[in-house]
């Protein structure tokens, strides 16, 4: 067990170093710039609203700073990075042919995939954590108040990153990386795409739509981040939110276990 942990640690650290070498730090710098643009561009409107005594508008602008930073940084950018890094997690090693000298060691394929995934997650969660810290700093600086629901929303963001990186990494062991990333997006969009079809008059369409609906991961019924500020949810259903997160976590684990089983039987053909 301890040997497996050491191997996973070594592979994860290597994956993290590889990720940093992929110039994803430019994304961090770009997100910093976007954050500055959000703040600076909102300053004029905020000053006008404050000077004219429109306190509710001023509060809305301040909340917008936090919401936008969280939304752009931790939702959009982190999810895009999760899909990209997950999808190339194995293929990059195959392309570089470094995988040969790793898999010729006494290492089972599941250990290898776990190490690669943890290395990817280490970067993604650090990236998200930085975004959340910046958002909280802005909230403190502009005296933005939020409900405890925000923390549930933040936890959901971490689960989303885990889901997208795990599913795209899982798919990438048996399909090309671009397709794996595309499938990860598609599968998360399935409930929205097929919800109307579940009421289709033809039974075959309903059957397929229902199958697709239940194959897809669970969707969060409310915007947790958006509902954490002034327009707070009246009856937040914490139990339901945690069930959705747990379901998505388990969904990812199942996809990952299936991927490990497929990867264990996969041949390594290098060109």
């Amino acid at each position: 067990m301890a040997k497996a942990v050491l191997k996973i640690r070594g592979i994860a650290l290597t994956m993290l170093q590889e990720t940093l070498r992929r110039r994803v730090l430019y994304v961090v710098a770009f997100m910093m710039l976007i954050t500055l643009v959000i703040i600076i561009s909102g300053q004029v409107a905020l000053r006008m609203a404050t000077e004219s005594g429109e306190t509710s508008i001023a509060t809305g602008i301040r909340e917008g700073f936090v919401r936008n930073v969280l939304g752009i940084w931790t939702s959009a950018a982190a999810v895009v990075l999760a899909i990209f890094l997950g999808a190339v997690g194995v293929s990059s090693e195959v392309t570089a042919k470094t995988i040969v000298n790793v898999l010729s060691r006494p290492l089972d394929r599941a250990t290898y995939l776990t190490g690669r995934w943890i290395g990817t997650l280490a970067f993604l969660w650090a990236f998200q954590f930085l975004g959340i810290l910046i958002a909280l700093f802005i909230a403190l600086a502009y005296d933005v108040r939020y409900s405890p629901l925000l923390w549930v929303g933040v936890a959901n963001l971490f689960v989303s990153t885990l889901f997208f990186s795990g599913v795209s990494l899982g798919f990438s062991v048996f399909m090309p990386p671009v397709l794996a990333g595309g499938c990860a997006i598609l599968i998360s969009s399935l409930p929205g795409l097929v919800s109307d079809l579940t009421r289709h008059p033809r039974w075959i369409a309903r059957l397929l739509a229902n199958a697709a609906y239940y194959l897809a991961p669970a969707t969060m019924p409310v915007d947790l981040i958006g509902g954490s500020f002034t327009r707070e949810l009246v009856h937040p259903e914490y139990r339901l939110y945690f069930e959705v997160m747990a379901e998505n976590f388990l969904y990812t684990v199942v996809v990952f276990i299936l991927a490990c089983a497929i990867f264990a039987r996969r041949e390594l053909r290098l060109r």
Partner: protein
């Protein structure tokens, strides 16, 4: 085809492996290869490009699965964790992480090989020193020359003192000094008791270091012999004729004259014709210097069995 009757470290029986790309017909890379490699021996797999050497090696490591046949290492199915635990592998070109230092690359592979940390701490500088890379231990591998990377590749294969070393073209990209170093290390590893299975194009290196040679051509084993037998056995004989008068010269008509000068001539003939030729020479008053069985060179054998079959 059996290398030895001893306890086999590698046991390949009827290995068949083919590849099929999307738009191409099936291509058989390895066709019915069987070989056994006993503990402590050094066996070379030689053959032209596309002969199936790397496919055979990847199958031994479990990176490829046989279509037919059985492959076992240490009695375990090829690719099992137990078999890989006792195996060190160097690929033809050592692809590794350019952002790591030589030291950290070896430590990484040491961890993957389940070496305890204190053992890694001792083995890494020792192997770097052995491969002449001690001065570059702290340098990033991305800045290494091709030869240095190959040496590092050999160092990682040797790191955990494996019972079996599988080396795919270990001298690729090495200068003569590097090639000698690799040959010396193979001899040292053999003395340690390790089994070495290598593929190579450099026939002189194979002759110098190996106990047994297997020639692979178009996916099939076309020749398998111990080096000792190779050097002692021959179908041809050589006769040194010190004085070669004209009647004797007429007598050797049909035989091959290898050298003809003031010191006499060296004549080569098949074993079946040796006695008749000697008789003719003696009757023609030729002065015979020596009669010997001609030792076969690996290059001759290679050209005979695999020459002109390159796919690469």
């Amino acid at each position: 085809m059996s290398v030895s009757n001893g306890r086999p470290v590698i046991d390949v029986d009827g290995l068949y492996k083919s590849f099929r790309s999307r738009f191409q017909r099936e291509v058989a890379a390895v066709r019915g290869v069987s070989l056994r490699v006993e503990q402590g021996s050094v066996v070379a797999l030689v053959g032209p490009n596309g002969a199936g050497k790397t496919t055979t090696i990847y199958t031994l490591l479990g990176l490829l699965r046989p279509d037919r046949g059985a492959v076992r290492l240490f009695g375990q199915p090829a690719g099992s964790v137990e078999a890989r635990r006792r195996t060190g592998f160097q690929s033809e070109i050592f692809h590794t992480y350019g952002f790591k230092t030589a030291q950290s690359v070896l430590s990484f592979y040491g961890e993957l090989s389940e070496m305890p940390h204190d053992e890694i701490a001792r083995a890494v500088p020792r192997q770097l020193e052995r491969l002449g890379l001690a001065q570059s231990a702290g340098r990033k591998v991305g800045g290494f020359s091709k030869g240095m990377i190959q040496r590092l590749g050999l160092a990682q294969a040797l790191l955990h003192a494996p019972d079996l070393l599988i080396l795919d073209e270990p001298t690729t990209g090495l200068d003569p000094e590097g090639r000698k170093l690799v040959a010396d290390i193979i001899v040292e590893e053999k003395k340690r008791g390790a089994t070495v299975f290598l593929s190579s194009h450099i026939l002189s290196d194979v002759e110098r270091t190996c106990d047994h040679v297997v020639i692979l051509s178009q996916g099939e084993v076309v020749f398998s012999e111990s080096m000792a037998a190779l050097q002692s056995e021959s179908d041809d004989w050589e006769i040194q004729v010190l004085v070669l008068p004209q009647p004797a010269r007429d007598a050797i008509d049909g035989a091959e004259i290898l050298a003809d000068g003031v010191g006499g001539a060296m004549v080569r003939c098949a074993a079946s014709k040796k006695d008749a030729l000697l008789l003719k020479l003696l009757l023609a008053n030729a002065s015979i210097g020596l009669v010997r069985r001609r030792s076969r060179s690996l290059e001759d054998l290679y050209m005979r069995y695999a020459g002109g079959s390159s796919r690469g």
